[in-house]
């Protein structure tokens, strides 16, 4: 199947991919503004530039599928169905945030939506999806209360080029391969871990090649091409669901901005930045949609306008959401507190 051929896909689907990418881009831009305006207290690691990965990958997922994410997680969570309202509310540290203001950007999670969580620890989410896949396997084998929530699913973890040097990467891939678990390990290679370029943190170019250490397929997708990411992911998901085991899928991409809000990213060569800016996943996909008469220029504008509205509403929702009370901090340490004893 020519993965890049728009004619293979129905228009509605393609427009949704485009829309989801725009949503992420604008969500992040606005988050940055809101942070600068003092509404968001914690760190932000913008996903801008990598939208095609999250959207392409999550488009291949359905009910009962789970993702685990990273410090750069907003894109993944939106693509997996996260509501901008509750996400902004969390960034604002309010009661209606997905985590009731307790988590913030680094810990956004919603297991009901299949989101096991962003993560503040580089590589920290990788072992979790091995466990999620183990739960899926158990649910496939047996019925028990709740097993219907993950029967037949796959679990997916996003992580960066930098994270591929953590021990958790190695241990998790080995374990998932050994047990033939339904996991897809999605490495977003954006060429940097913080301020350190890939060639200063590892001696390989294609992280996908590390799959051979586990006798696991290693696939590479153009992470700036949402269809390519979707297509390659579809293969991996099919393999996982039919019991052939995990895949390591590397998406080559780039972040447009610094590592976090405030980083001016002076460590990157101008030409490199220019090269990748020209590969903007949204702009290019929009152009192709127009070229192929799947959308009109005005329709792109309509998408922008709709999303502007969605995000305005979301920011307002966040702003109107009540602050948590200080004493809420003392809740949710445990499910079972033995009459408060466990908290003292």
């Amino acid at each position: 199947m020519p993965n890049n051929n728009l004619s293979e896909y129905n228009a509605e689907f393609l427009v949704k991919l485009y829309r989801d990418m725009v949503l992420i881009r604008r969500f992040e831009e606005r988050a940055s503004e809101l942070r600068n305006a003092g509404h968001i207290p914690g760190f932000l690691h913008p996903y801008i530039g990598q939208e095609a990965v999250a959207v392409g990958i999550c488009a291949a997922l359905g009910k009962n599928d789970f993702i685990a994410s990273t410090h750069r997680g907003h894109g993944h969570i939106l693509a997996q169905g996260g509501d901008p309202k509750n996400m902004y509310a969390e960034l604002y540290a309010r009661q209606d945030g997905y985590n009731k203001g307790k988590g913030g950007s680094l810990h956004l999670a919603n297991v009901d939506l299949g989101i096991i969580g962003a993560n503040g620890i580089v590589g920290g989410g990788i072992p979790l999806v091995v466990g999620a896949a183990l739960a899926i396997k158990r649910a496939n084998e047996a019925d028990y209360p709740g097993s219907e929530k993950c029967k037949g699913g796959v679990s997916v973890v996003f992580f960066g080029d930098g994270a591929s040097n953590e021990g958790s990467f190695h241990e998790s891939l080995n374990l998932a391969a050994l047990w033939k678990l339904p996991v897809i390990f999605v490495c977003e290679n954006n060429l940097y871990g913080e301020f350190t370029a890939q060639d200063k943190h590892q001696t390989i170019k294609d992280i996908a090649s590390r799959s051979s250490s586990y006798n696991m397929p290693g696939l590479i997708a153009d992470g700036n091409d949402v269809l390519d990411a979707f297509h390659v992911m579809t293969t991996a998901v099919e393999n996982a669901k039919k019991g052939s085991g995990p895949t390591l899928l590397e998406c080559k991409t780039y972040r447009h901005r610094g590592h976090y809000e405030g980083d001016m990213a002076h460590y990157r060569p101008k030409e490199e930045v220019a090269f990748w800016m020209a590969k903007d996943p949204i702009e290019n996909f929009g152009k192709r949609l127009i070229e192929n008469s799947l959308m009109k220029e005005e329709e792109l504008q309509t998408v922008e306008a709709e999303i502007e509205q969605v995000l305005q509403d979301a920011a307002k929702y966040a702003e109107n959401s009540p602050h948590p009370e200080a004493k809420d901090a003392l809740e949710h340490v445990f499910v079972e507190t033995y009459g408060g004893r466990a908290l003292l």
Binding site: Y98, N99, K100, P127, V129, G131, R138, V333
Partner: protein, 325 residues
């Protein structure tokens, strides 16, 4: 209730078996816990009974092992994991401390982590510095984790069952030197409540607080002291988190004198927390210095003669009590 004498390790094995029978979603993971039945034989027969789908041998990958247990637990599949020697948990600290302990909290209560980790702990048989540690204090300092200990077969079975049923991450500490010790255990299903201490021996002059292998040692010390006319109460908190403050207060009401005993190095052990609680909340009851007995602040040496000096012995406990009177 009818009962019989079984070993501590058999009591644990029964608890594991009965709980896995009760709840078909529970999985067990660990290094050589399945086919081989565990290095200490504690999980013997479970693989044969529940099959390789439920009892899994893992590669030597502690981080992935504990992380996988956490991931499965998050999706509603309770897990039981063994850390073969608790010293190896140093390789899984991120998954336990940054992930498992904090998930329920960070998600505003929207997730839960019914995860049980069995920690095989303590000094035994000249195993030296990397196979002998008692690390429970670290985890009591990690909000979000529960820490439970067992000193007898009866406690082991009853507390482990409660810990498995607990919806939060629990570290269950088992002491190697207790595995072969036998004791009365009911035939019937029973559980013991987490968060409630127990008076292991009644007395009136001094309270010894002890857990794990320090309980039998303290009981021996009490016997020796009793011959000298000193009446010792031995109180065992059983779970360190949650900790039974009220139980501590009750025994101090009786005795007013306190000796806290732990196998871990004295500095910053859980004994310090117990002493600090007493000095803060029970100061009105305390009649003299609160003494602590713990290992010397050294790594565990290999030579038995040195190990014996480092690990608190019955003598050390006796001596501390004498100095307290």
């Amino acid at each position: 209730m009818s009962s019989r004498r079984i070993s501590y390790s058999q009591a644990i094995n029964e608890a594991l078996s009965e709980e896995m029978e009760r709840d078909p979603s529970i999985l067990m993971l660990g290094e050589d816990v399945a086919e081989p039945g565990g290095v200490f034989g504690v999980t013997k027969g479970l693989y044969q009974k529940f099959g390789g789908e439920r009892v899994l041998d893992t590669p030597i990958s502690e981080q992935a092992l504990v992380g996988a247990a956490l991931g499965a637990s998050l999706l509603g599949v309770p897990t039981i994991t063994e850390i073969m020697f608790s010293d190896f948990v140093t390789l899984a600290m991120d998954q336990l401390v940054n992930q498992a302990a904090k998930f329920h909290y960070m998600t505003g209560g929207r997730t839960s982590v019914p995860m049980l980790v069995r920690m095989v702990t303590g000094a035994s048989g000249a195993a030296s510095a990397q196979h002998s540690q008692s690390l429970e204090a670290w985890f009591t300092h990690t909000p979000g984790l529960k820490v439970v200990t067992a000193s007898t077969p009866y406690e082991a079975k009853g507390l482990l069952k409660s810990a498995i049923r607990d919806p939060d991450p629990v570290l269950f500490f088992e002491h190697k030197l207790l595995y072969n010790g036998k004791g009365e255990v009911p035939e019937e299903d029973y559980t013991l409540p987490i968060g409630e201490g127990t008076v292991a021996l009644e007395g009136s002059d001094v309270t010894i607080v002890a857990y794990l292998h320090m309980v039998p040692k303290s009981l021996k010390a009490a016997k020796i002291l009793s011959a000298e006319g000193i009446s010792v109460e031995v109180w065992n908190p059983r779970s360190l988190v949650p900790f039974d403050r009220e139980g501590l207060r009750q025994t101090l009401k009786k005795t007013g004198r306190l000796v806290v005993v732990q196998e871990a190095p004295k500095r910053s052990g859980f004994g310090a927390e117990i002493a600090a609680i007493a000095a803060e909340e029970c100061f009105d009851l305390i009649k003299g210095p609160i003494r602590r007995v713990g290992a010397a602040n050294t790594p565990i040496p290999y030579a038995p003669v040195m190990e014996n000096l480092v690990i608190p012995g019955v003598d050390d406990i006796v001596e501390a009590v004498r100095r307290t009177i």
